[in-house]
Symmetry: D2
Subunit: 503 residues, 4 copies
């Protein structure tokens, strides 16, 4: 094993793209207390800046409310739930990344729906009414939260219109019409509001140039571009779940990079790029999401993704999510970093570890990221590289060695570990016999098993460097935080005397 010699001088800056945004189950679910508890947990330990999900305009938020009663006829715009959710977000220090969709039933041109919760995915029956709805929404948000605040909220037109189940017939021309109509309506309110699209799914690279051409031809604004990235193959169904093949983690980074490449000669070149959804699997019922494997696979993506895009939003922060019906077991392969009942998954910890990294990058490799804080402290993220389905066997142990420049005579090393057994409630749950609905006592045990394991030691500094020989267990991710020791031990202390030893 070769020791990586970490340089004194930073080689770059670690952007916040990895925590700029996070995905969520539909807007209505934010009314739930388990959602609130989980989001508070995420904000306490990670601190995302934006949150994005579907369903703002769906009927279970109830904004668009036509009436025709007792001779009174019209449409009422109602914000009972929209306000409640937005208030919550802001209270928890997170801002909405607005997604315009799906179609309110009273404005839909058809009855095609997506998901168990039946989001209507048909175009508006009346674009003038659609525009009025969007304008009413924005006026209300500006009234309530102030224009300065709302100007910071990106507005994304629809979700994955390139897929027939998200947009009737995946009709590109109709989507462009929706985009045009929406962007004009929004800019009428305030032309500083940030609008973007086309929010396409993986595998739709053929939408980029037509989109660029459309906005160029029609001279339409576009303040940012958005798309999604997932890296699994087709679903192999079992009851209440799927299995899928998985590509190498670098595939995600490749997906992040592609739009800039495709668009480099268009008017859209240089616009902020938001990966408004990403994960390993695009299914909310693939058990890979519950594993340390998922955490290890994503570590290099978090470390590098910010070089390529403005944000990449993990889909989703918690398992409060109902696209495939209500989960029938506490671990069910949900997207969340946090399972039901506020049980942290390994992926949660990788995010929490990232939140404790410094801004300056000192070194970066296939299995490590070394950073320095403004006050000089070093933080190291180390992980076992994973290979996806084509290279499926990770060793039982992964080792790496770093030589890190530091001040002082010794260093306090504070280590946090997640792997197949540590910080891993999923494994504990398997060992418990997979109780679908754990008892309260089992939930307590799972919460204990879910915590990252902490350890610590003092390492000597020699010639201005500390040597870290790091051993990881399978699918392990570790955070090592180094503090230069200022020894305050008074002269009179002698630990050998504590137990009467020796003297």
């Amino acid at each position: 094993m070769v020791t990586t010699l970490v340089p004194h001088e930073p080689i770059g800056v670690l952007s916040d793209a990895w925590r700029e945004c996070v995905g969520t189950g539909r807007f209505n679910l934010a009314l739930r207390s388990d959602y609130r508890d989980s989001l508070r947990l995420a904000q306490d330990e990670i601190g995302f800046r934006y949150i994005r999900g579907h369903g703002l305009l769906s009927d279970d938020i109830g904004i668009h409310r036509p009436y025709d009663v007792a001779g009174f006829r019209g449409t009422r715009y109602s914000f009972t739930y929209a306000d409640q959710v937005t208030d919550l977000y802001l209270d928890l220090g997170i801002k909405p990344f607005l997604e315009l969709g799906f179609m309110p039933p009273g404005l839909a041109s058809g009855d095609q729906t997506v998901f168990w919760w039946k989001g209507n995915v048909t175009p508006p029956s009346d674009y003038a009414e659609w525009n009025k709805l969007i304008q009413a929404l924005l006026r209300h948000l500006i009234d309530r939260y102030g224009i300065d605040e709302v100007l910071t909220w990106p507005i994304e037109v629809w979700n994955e219109p390139n897929l027939t189940h998200f947009w009737k017939d995946a009709d590109q021309a109709e989507y462009f019409r929706l985009y045009e109509s929406s962007v004009i309506a929004i800019k009428e309110i305030d032309d500083r509001l940030q609008v973007g699209g086309p929010a396409i799914s993986p595998g739709a690279d053929d939408w980029w140039l037509p989109f660029a051409e459309f906005v160029t031809d029609r001279d339409l604004p576009a303040d940012f571009l958005s798309f999604h990235a997932y890296t699994t193959g087709p679903s192999q169904h079992v009851p209440f779940g799927v299995y899928q093949t998985l590509r190498h983690p670098s595939d995600l980074l490749d997906q992040f990079a592609r739009p800039a490449e495709i668009l480099k000669d268009t008017r859209l070149a240089g616009l902020p790029l938001h990966v408004t959804e990403f994960n390993t699997s695009y299914r909310p019922d693939n058990p890979v999401h519950d594993t340390a494997y998922n955490a290890a696979a994503l570590a290099p993506v978090l470390a590098r993704g910010g070089d390529l895009v403005r944000s990449f939003a993990y889909w989703t922060f918690c398992d409060v999510f109902e696209e495939e019906n209500i989960p029938t077991a506490i671990f069910h392969g949900g997207f969340g970093m946090i399972a039901h009942r506020q049980i942290k998954k390994p992926t949660f910890h990788v995010y929490a570890f990232m939140a404790r990294m410094g801004r300056q990058i000192l070194a970066q490799g296939d299995d490590h990221l070394v950073t320095r804080h403004a006050d000089g402290r070093i933080a190291v993220l180390a992980w076992q590289p994973t290979g996806g389905t084509d290279d499926p066997e990770e060793a039982a142990e992964h080792r790496l060695s770093l030589s890190i420049p530091t001040a002082g005579e010794s260093v306090y090393v504070h280590r946090s570990d997640v792997d197949e057994h540590r910080g891993n409630a999923f494994t504990a749950w398997q060992q418990m016999g997979r109780p679908a609905s754990p008892s309260r006592r089992q939930l307590d045990a799972l919460r204990e098993a879910a915590e990252a394991v902490r350890s610590h030691h003092a390492a000597p500094v020699r010639d201005g460097r500390v040597q870290l020989d790091i051993s990881l267990e399978r699918h392990g991710v570790a955070l090592l935080e180094l503090d230069s020791v200022v020894d305050e031990t008074p002269a009179w202390l002698d630990d050998r005397r504590i137990l009467g030893r020796g003297l």
Copy 2:
């Protein structure tokens, strides 16, 4: 005005029937954080013992889960949400009053639904499957919470089967079949489990004797009887709301009394009677629920209802409720004692006042209830009598006078008031211009306006009695708590010296 001479000796005991049970929006809504916040508020200031609502078996709780995938076929019983809600209830010190309903889609014989949230109201397509579902549910609850706990939870078969929109064709024979099937299935699990019905709506007195006859003929168990009471006339619709006529409050007490009368010569005579829903209006969009009128009208019902039934459950504790779609304004005539955003309505305070009354009844009249606590303290509830639509004009002031036996030389009187202006956020909201979606600052003001107004004075005791001359504003309800004063004033204190006065 004549002074009522309150006797020394109690004339009765105030039962807890008024807080034995409370109604709630559907089971799924208990997942919400505003629901939890509101229920905590109710439990802190009132302290209900049981809670009852619809939808335990509906698809948004997701218990009954048939599957047929990849060669695997069967039904999974899943308690992901059922446990979460039940855990919450017990954590807040309230027990579920189980209502079996509505029909899970996978077990329904038709697709007729009720409410905006689409509860299926058709009989089971297969009674054997229904029985398996109920037994799976009860076995799970007993596993999780213990048989001793579950034995205390009443189990009510269905809801208002006498109405066509709650039970297909209001088919009495089919309901009896459901009752028979359910009760036998439940008693197989443990014959101490308490089962009852028929949960009929007002105006269905013709169901009682057939039900008595049926359970007698078939020798079926019935541990309690349940029914509902409301006292308004037909709905006069406007957009997002209704108006209705209202009967005199005594009409509710008459409804409470009727089943015992009808059944007095049957085998069902003497069974515990539960009014599992009551309110003035049966509509979740009648503004009367938001008013002090509602509070004043219910005061005599709370004071007397316990003489007639084992429990009478106010329908419902809070406005988190979606039977008629999502409310379009914060005050919308919802059933709740607590509006959205945890704003207390006048009716909440009447319940909170009742929770501060003593157990011994010293006097009871058309406008007052006088009680004594175990430690001798007196608590008085006073209200302005209301007359319903036929006698609609209450005076701007109502006065009453009580002479109350008490110890000591003086009494500290601590008074809490609710009326058209005090403890009345609805009036404040009207004065604000009825903002549908109040700003945060307006919400704060509404919460301040919603608090009961406290005042206090010292009253002299003469000949062992204190004279209370109580004046109430329109639709006022007041709580007066009397403490015999033990004067601890030291000899050296002279309040005239505080501001340099006089000396």
Copy 3:
């Protein structure tokens, strides 16, 4: 009664001097949970910026720790409690206004102490040691909280050195020596640190010019000047308390104004002036502090004080205070705005009312202050003027009338009242018989009685003005908040139909 015609244009800006700083019981008391609970209350409803109290260097904080054991000899500087308190302050959003005092026993030149808790008030036995102590303290604070933060903390040298019980022999020359020694030691650490004095009590105006002369002659820095203001006469003792005469409230404003006048031709002219303590009475056992009288007397001082000084700190925010031993009754005339057990006094509410005032002053008079918020809302503070001992009789009612410019057709008026009976737990406690140690139930009643009483009405706007005819009860202070009404009432609503009335 003449109506005051409030102008459209602001006549001034309301400074935050009234909440720039607040007084506290000694530093050690900040370790207490009741202190923390009370401070949180104050910060939630008022929001002070700085807090100042005695005892940072006293032995119950334990910073200066000489040792001579087993052959080891020296002085250890220990921050166990100092950090705990400072952490708390910052967590609650308040910064320390550092007062250097009293003398640690190991550094004292004598054993004279002040207060029940025995603060040593003798000069240092060794000025070099004193300097080392102060430098150790500042270095530690800078290490822990950062220099940018500590630069914002004023540092005041000692407390009331002009009084023999606070500074041995009230020795002016010795104080100047202490000042010189301290200021030089502090500026050695960082010359941007803000140091000031002389922290003199009322009645010591003869110290100003000598102090100016001294710092000028010796060319010493002085970043601010500090002094105290109280307005009562000598103590007339009774057991566990005193009575005192009281001067007119304007006397406090006169005291605020005097140092600037005296110093106007010296080098100290123009320095920031901090009234680091003020109140009506300077005694922690004068019942006036518990009364509405105190609140009414201070209202004009809060309204005007910011014209004269940079800050004036109410002494103190809560009754957790032990200068005259442990209070023997819950109401005992303590300085606090908040009594023991988090019971708000009337004075608390005046501060809370001030915190809801706008920045622009529209009108100001003997009994009112009218302000406008940035968003156009009007807030009015009204009070009954008080006269002190020489003019002791306030009327049972005080009335004033304001004509206020406003937009819209009507105004929602949200009113909060404190007077002899409302928002007045002291009166309730008197009526209860003055229980020294109230039961939990009595504490609950006192907390209810302590809340300001809220009321509300809609007022019509005529010719762009709303007329407020305000009636106050004796010693009343009221806050009136006006919101222009935007009427959202839908066309179909008709409140006459709510109870079936009329139609």
Copy 4:
């Protein structure tokens, strides 16, 4: 290594004596927020029933308050702080074990004090006044908390009267006089109140028979007997600390056993015995208290102590304690299970582990305790035996092997570890360089390092037994909780498919 064959049938019942009572710093310290936070932590994870400390009658609680002012003369009994502390205790679910002491200054016959905080240890100057004080106290407590509650609070007369620094001259006759006077005064209030003594320190066995004789001769009540147990040698002082020799843990059990032996033929035989203080060292500044060694040494004492006495109270639950002045460093050898800033020490975890043990004892040995819960679950406590100063070297590893009867096919083993490195903030702090006053970030790291480390695995059941081969690191204590696995794994799950492996 021999495997211990754990039997099916219980061999005894684990009493709650280990958590019946816990020690605390002086009564006044309970006013502090860090005290409250730490006690809440202890109650959440351990759940003590009683709490005992010094200083109830000392002047910093302020009960006894003579006055002589303005012609008014007398004694006021004041409960301002006494109530505040007692309310807190009851709110946290813990009851006071009342210790009568020390002497209020106004009632003291001399000025000898003990501790930095100066508790007066002289006899009353007037026994009649002493009796009045005690009676006033008890009457007040009964008024406030009810006689039924106060009857459950033991009342102990004074503390360690056999030591000259706790009782002037260690005058036995004077103590007996105090006992007699107190017990008679108390029983006058209600003869069911439980009184006891003599609260002697270790090494005072010669007090037992004279005490027995005295109460027998004078026919005095004695409801329980109390004494203390410590097991260290004399102090070897260094600045701000001591070192001491330590005896074998069995010495503590011997001390627990001795009084019953001595008194077996007296009238006092069979009375409940309370060890109202015990620990390894009797010094609040011996670093052994911060170590895993302390935890390992006490494990066998907790396991066995209940066989000998009714309660044994760890002295003390937290480091908020000031007998030897204010600690100068966060780790300073304090008695507490919880260090300042709510940092758990290893000993805390042993108590928390004990709180998760079952009631039935299945096996008990030098390094283990095996228990079963009512629901059949097994909990094992394992520890490395320690030898004290005479046998000071524990091995780096300790192993034991248990064969435990259990149901099912496999067992989920949930393990919690504390040793020299795990669950050991003291070691982390040493490695950090012993920062006396850790930064907030260091405090966070210490709290993470302080948590017990959790791990888990599934163990097969063979022939109705599970084999546990337990390895402990130096000074390790481990809790192993075993749940019989009910395997709910559905037929369709195949974990090999999660990552695309194998298939």
